[in-house]
């Protein structure tokens, strides 16, 4: 098991302030969702989930067809489509566009896809200034951190933390009122919007039959990002497609409610093509960069490709008791929580963090709330099997494998099982209720781990089997 993963987990667990911040913020999102999806408010909620799952399944299974349709329609509206295999390809396209248009300042709206490929760092490396304009994203950009949560990037920070960040990075007074903090950020960002040459957004949905990009947000910054600068570039993973504009209604009803409990987010933008002759605002150029970066690899697995249905609502994170303890930064990639736990190994290989699929009690709260019904526990179980298959190939973790092989051998031989369990029970202190400690020779590995947190039940005086026998029939 990777020590970095364990270390980050321990650091988060032992920080009471952080524990409190995560627990409160996710708890709030959970209760908001609960109200928003209540059957009194939205009787068709379960139907919508089933429908969304079916639409996503259909789209993912016919992705090549819809991608072509999308491209045709973007072109028909005067936009451009770029295909990117990797994050480097995305950066190259943007750098090329920036160079030919003499651009130096970029404003960005929130996008996990660009976080995934470290776009800001890549652009800054080439001398471009790229500024996040979503408040949470802006704060963590100032802190040089990764988003803590796919919907609420600064979920782990209190307003006092934010006050310190602004004081240090912007040279302003230590301002702890959230409204005033927003005003401070607005002032800085307004100036950036006015001067920006390029606006980069992500895409919540790519709509094949209209060649459009749909964006949802609460702050209005995505609107400005996509309309104020002369050039708008949307960066999106190929799985963001949905077939028809009318499907959007289904997904929009689910997305805001599941993520933040909002019936609809404050702003929803439907962007297709650059500004037309008769329009007053909008960019002069409209580009969509379609990113693969491992997604086609996921398509190959018929069981696990449902991972691509995700609409990044964040509900699985909020409801995950493990995320609520270990937070976002313990996870090895920008995608955290249950969705991160299933896509990270698929994008980067199970060997990249073999402990990840095991960091779950398999409680299933994630699948219960997922608006597109991704069977996350099932995928975790499959990934666990993939980890063990890989360990076997590489002859790693031999001791554990021996334990489970022995377990299977014994558990399929009833006589041997009975003798072995009897012997095991004799070894320990029987019939003594819950133990605070065990004899030294037993205080190893899993027992020690158990006892680090809880008392351990001693084996019963008599097993059920023995009691049943004595009772006679």
């Amino acid at each position: 098991m990777s020590t970095t993963f364990d270390r980050k987990i321990d650091a988060t667990l032992s920080d009471p302030r952080l524990q409190n911040a995560i627990y409160k913020a996710t708890g709030r999102l959970m209760s908001h969702r609960k109200i928003a999806v209540d059957s009194d408010v939205l009787p068709e909620f379960e139907e919508l989930r089933t429908q969304a799952n079916a639409v996503k399944r259909h789209t993912i299974e016919n992705l090549d067809w819809y991608l072509e349709q999308f491209e045709r329609n973007v072109l028909a509206h005067g936009g451009h489509v770029h295909w990117a295999r990797t994050g480097t390809d995305v950066a190259d396209v943007i750098l090329g566009l920036a160079k030919s248009r003499n651009a130096s300042l970029i404003v960005k709206s929130k996008s996990m896809t660009t976080e995934e490929i470290d776009l800001n760092e890549r652009l800054e490396h080439h001398g471009l200034e790229s500024v996040e304009t979503d408040l949470g994203e802006y704060i963590i950009q100032l802190k040089h951190e990764r988003p803590y949560h796919i919907v609420a990037p600064a979920l782990h920070l209190t307003r006092y933390d934010v006050a310190n960040v602004f004081e240090k990075k912007l040279g302003v007074e230590n301002e702890t009122e959230i409204e005033n903090q927003t005003m401070i950020a607005r002032r800085v960002l307004r100036d950036k919007f006015l001067r920006a040459d390029i606006g980069i957004s992500g895409a919540n949905f790519l709509i094949a039959d209209s060649g459009a990009v749909a964006l949802v947000e609460n702050e209005g910054n995505a609107r400005l990002t996509t309309s104020a600068p002369k050039v708008h570039i949307a960066v999106a993973g190929i799985e963001k497609l949905i077939p028809r504009a009318q499907d959007l209604a289904t997904f929009l009803k689910l997305l805001g409610r599941s993520g933040t409990g909002q019936p609809l987010t404050v702003y929803t933008s439907f962007l297709s093509g650059p500004r037309r002759e008769d329009e007053v605002d909008g960019p002069e150029e409209f580009h969509v960069i379609l990113l693969d970066s491992g997604r086609t690899k996921l398509l190959a697995d018929p069981d696990k490709r449902q991972s691509l249905y995700c609409i990044r609502c964040g509900a699985c994170l909020n409801h995950c008791p493990v995320y609520r303890k270990i937070g976002g930064h313990s996870f090895p990639w920008v995608y955290s929580g249950p969705i991160g736990a299933i896509i990270t190994p698929q994008f980067h290989g199970v060997e990249s963090e073999p402990g990840l699929p095991f960091a779950s009690s398999l409680c299933g709260a994630c699948a219960e709330v997922c608006p597109v019904k991704i069977d996350i526990p099932k995928i975790l179980l499959e990934l666990r099997a993939d980890v063990k298959a890989s360990e076997k190939r590489h002859a790693v973790n031999e001791a554990e494998r021996a334990v489970f092989r022995t377990f299977a051998y014994v558990a399929s031989r009833p006589k041997l099982w009975q003798r072995a369990t009897k012997l095991a029970a004799r070894l320990g202190p029987r019939g003594q209720g819950y133990l605070k400690k065990v004899p030294g020779f037993m205080n190893v590995g899993p027992v020690r781990a158990w006892l680090s947190q809880r008392d351990l039940p001693a084996p019963a005086e008599k097993s059920f089997r023995e009691m049943w026998k004595e009772r006679g029939r």
């Binding site: 008791p321 009690s361 666990r384 063990k388 299977a408 558990a411 369990t421 781990a449 680090s452």
Partner: protein, 241 residues
């Protein structure tokens, strides 16, 4: 002629919590069922399955399928083990495999204890009495894989003397999760403590569940914290008089 039911007591009840198994048998017998305890039973294989050891899980599942082959009903004092046998055995074997068909045949005969009482035996009042203030913990696999939510509550509502109080986090995981509890002890222990906070808010002195593994986790953490709360399997409550 009373119906015959086979019981699969699970390895954890057999070794650690035999009273829960005995209590289940008692309740079933009082209702007129004759009990068959297939001696060759061992474990459902979930530890191997959940740890990614599919071949090993298949070995154990094959054995259990054979052991339970002739049963009319199999009643299990655990939602988690029930779900393993009724949901996951089929997944373990390819559709052409004879064991896949055996798993398909077995699946509808396997019942978690509270569901068996309410759906097959069709009772909600088993005539139990227990003076206590109690709260019910939904175990995750029972709740989310088997959709068991009301049955145990209805049974408990009919226990004389029992004051049942819902906790705010009834549906939240206790943090056990099998090997998760020892692979990520700090996270698992933290989850248990969060759950216990919710239990404490009800003022209950008894926590009831249909899974002994959750109770082991909770009682372990309760005992470590030195709290005056006891855990009981639903069967033990229903056998009380």
């Amino acid at each position: 002629m009373p119906q015959r039911v086979s019981i699969f007591v699970t390895c954890i009840v057999d070794q650690l919590f035999p009273n829960a198994g005995m209590a289940m048998a008692t309740v079933l017998e009082r209702l007129g069922f004759s009990i068959d305890f297939p001696e060759a039973q061992t474990c459902c294989g979930q530890p191997a399955f959940n740890s990614g050891y599919r071949d090993e899980a298949r070995t154990v599942a094959s054995h259990t399928l054979k052991v339970l082959e002739g049963a009319d009903y199999v009643v299990v004092p655990s939602g988690s083990c029930t779900s393993m046998m009724s949901h996951h055995y089929e997944e373990l074997f390819a559709p052409g495999d004879a064991r896949h068909h055996a798993a398909e045949r077995l699946s509808p005969k396997i019942y978690e204890f509270s569901r068996f009482l309410t759906e097959v035996a069709q009772v909600e009042d088993v005539g139990a009495r227990l003076e206590t203030v109690a709260t019910y913990h939904d175990s995750c696999h029972a709740l989310r894989e088997l959709k068991i939510k009301e049955a145990p509550r209805r049974l408990l509502a009919n226990v004389k003397g029992l004051d049942l109080r819902e906790m705010d986090a009834a549906e939240e995981c206790c943090g056990f999760g099998g090997t998760f509890s020892v692979k990520f002890p700090g996270v698992s222990g933290g989850m248990a403590r969060t759950k216990i906070d919710s239990i404490l808010r009800t003022g209950a002195s008894t926590v009831i569940s249909i899974d002994s593994s959750c109770l082991m986790q909770l009682q372990g953490a309760i005992s470590r914290a030195g709290l005056p709360i006891r855990t009981m399997h639903l069967a033990e409550v229903l056998a009380s008089r």
